[in-house]
């Protein structure tokens, strides 16, 4: 099964890389974005100061990581899935010899390959331009990778849930915006979660999205000890299970309505 999923991933990545120019544009965009952040913070810091216990290098590194991780987390299957459902391709996909969830997981991994390429190039260029702090230790770097990988699985099931809504609404634009909003607020993409008011922090701590961007970056900086990291990983597994069950129930219901009503 892994073989098949990887084959689909490869196929999807190939198709994506066919639009190499688009990917270049993304990288260019991300670099501009980071540059803007860096200059804003540069003005705020006015050299040498510390704000909320973070040095300028830390803030710069934070934003470079946020922007580089952003595509890995937020480029999902929603659009592909939504279009497929709207255009009736869903029938074709239900004829595949592997399950829909596995098929789309392959598609998601394909997107991941593209976004990793974009992310790494963005990171390297910005690191050279502005300088970054390296991970606090090799072990922490490995944990960083593990937590991000699990986050991709978490957001995959979240995307499936969002994508399933395309069965009921004609356009998934609204839910897509909703998804992006949730992701960018609660993952720490907009601002470090430690800057949030307390009640928002509580929500953010319960939801799994914090562990997509904010937590891995904290691990990168060495701000969590090993026990805390293991707790995060356990929490991620629990969320994967919860989101999987929700996605499965909603999707089966949607497919049933398709196969009863005839699409």
């Amino acid at each position: 099964m892994i073989n098949k999923i990887l084959a689909i991933a490869k196929q999807n990545a190939k198709e994506g890389l066919y639009y190499r120019f688009d990917l270049l544009l993304y990288i260019f965009n991300f670099i501009i974005e980071i540059t803007v952040y860096v200059f804003i913070w540069l003005a705020i810091y006015n050299k040498g100061n510390q704000i909320l216990g973070m040095t300028f290098e830390q803030v710069t590194t934070y934003y470079i990581l946020v922007v580089s991780l952003n595509p890995i987390i937020s480029w999902g299957i929603n659009e592909t899935m939504g279009n497929a459902i709207r255009e009736g391709e869903i029938l074709r996909e239900l004829l595949n010899p592997i399950s829909y969830f596995n098929y789309y997981f392959g598609i998601r991994i394909g997107e991941l390959i593209e976004s990793i390429i974009v992310g790494i190039i963005t990171f390297i260029i910005c690191a050279l331009l502005f300088g970054v702090l390296l991970p606090s230790s090799l072990l922490n770097f490995i944990f960083f990778i593990i937590v991000i990988s699990l986050s991709v699985v978490v957001v995959y099931f979240f995307e499936l849930i969002i994508g399933t809504s395309a069965f009921y609404t004609n356009s998934i634009w609204g839910v897509e915006v909703f998804k992006r909003a949730i992701l960018s607020i609660f993952s720490g993409m907009i601002a470090p979660i430690s800057l949030f008011p307390e009640f928002l922090q509580k929500i953010a701590n319960t939801l799994p999205f914090k562990d997509c961007i904010y937590t891995p970056i904290s691990i990168y900086f060495g701000e969590l000890n090993n026990i805390e990291i293991i707790q995060v990983i356990l929490k991620q597994f629990i969320w994967i299970l919860i989101l999987y069950i929700i996605a499965k129930i909603l999707f089966n219901k949607a497919v049933k309505s398709v196969t009863v009503n005839g699409g």
């Binding site: 689909i8 196929q11 198709e15 066919y18 009736g88 010899p97 196969t259 009503n261």
Partner: protein
């Protein structure tokens, strides 16, 4: 045992009846009203391994609905479908591995990639052994003339080129049963012939069972041995194509090349037992029932009005027979 067993199959679609305006919409939300439409009405048939079946009927007769139920994409309202021992809509993935399907213009090929990439993925997804894949690819490339297409991006293919690739993709994993819902729609004659030959060849070699729906009866004439004719959701004929033609094709069409016409034959022969389909100064086309009249009778009547130079005789084809059936002229029993 039959490879496809269909028993008392019924599909009713629910069509929501919304009243106009926001008020109507809200009303519908709380008291949804549905109208039922019977698309397939209690049909039964068995298909044996290796049969080539033409599934025909007018627009809206229920063909696609039946095919969707056979593939498991649509849940029957009642009745039974068993394909090679599997109930398709209950064990969809298991069923998918043993079937292939083409639905009109929908494609399983990857739009931005060269055709061959899609084939490679199909090989992986269906776990096609290397040997089979190589053989099939070689064979299909030859019959469907794919040599120059395999390296082209799908989005750059013409309709006919795409369909040839699509058909190849559908048969690549040696499916036991293949459903083709209007595979020749919009294609030119040569491509159609190409595809027909392909279906026949593969059927002969692999004993693939094929169910084909089409509005081009040439497809049926050339490919299928058996016809299932569905009308308003009910099967009105199921049997051999030749038997069908003998049973309903009681007419012969004769075309005469004539000269020196002395009057308008159509008006003059209004009493006769034959029908004039076309008439002009140099030719006349006549349809008659060969059980009642002979060609000699026709020649005799026509020669009263003109000089006959030449003639062609043609048995009624499926198309003419079906036209009569659709008009309600033939089947009343």
């Amino acid at each position: 045992m039959a490879i496809i067993e269909v028993k008392n199959l019924v599909k009713k679609y629910k069509i929501s009846e919304k009243e106009n305006g926001i008020l109507g919409y809200i009303k519908h939300l709380f008291h949804p009203k549905y109208k039922e439409q019977i698309a397939v009405n209690n049909i039964s048939f068995n298909i044996e391994k290796g049969e080539l079946v033409g599934y025909i009927g007018e627009n809206g007769a229920g063909k696609s609905t039946t095919i969707k139920m056979l593939t498991g994409l649509l849940t029957p309202t009642s009745g039974q479908v068993v394909v090679n021992g599997i109930v398709p809509n209950e064990k969809r993935i298991l069923n998918n591995k043993q079937i292939g399907a083409v639905f009109g213009q929908k494609t399983q090929l990857w739009w931005d990639l060269p055709v061959i990439e899609s084939f490679k993925l199909i090989k992986k997804m269906y776990e096609i052994p290397d040997e089979d894949y190589k053989n099939n690819l070689k064979k299909f490339t030859k019959i469907l003339d794919l040599k120059d297409l395999l390296d082209k991006q799908v989005k750059n293919l013409s309709l006919g080129q795409k369909m040839r690739c699509e058909i190849a993709a559908t048969f690549l994993h040696n499916p036991k049963v293949v459903y083709l819902d209007e595979p020749t729609i919009g294609l030119d004659i040569l491509v159609k012939e190409n595809i027909r030959k392909f279906i026949k060849d593969i059927n002969k070699e692999q004993h693939t069972t094929v169910i084909l729906t089409t509005h081009d009866l040439k497809d049926i004439e050339e490919v299928c041995d058996r016809i299932i004719l569905i009308d308003k959701g009910t099967i009105i004929y199921d049997g051999e194509k030749e038997v069908f033609k003998n049973k309903y094709g009681k007419h012969i069409i004769a075309e005469f090349i004539i000269q020196n016409k002395n009057s308008n034959i159509t008006v003059e022969t209004i009493e006769e037992e034959f029908e004039i389909i076309e008439e002009n100064e140099t030719s006349i086309k006549i349809k008659f029932n060969h059980e009642r009249l002979t060609i000699i009778d026709i020649v005799k009547s026509i020669s009263k009005y003109c000089e006959i130079l030449d003639m062609h005789i043609q048995e009624e084809g499926l198309e003419e027979i079906l036209k009569e059936i659709y008009r309600g002229e033939l089947i009343n029993d």
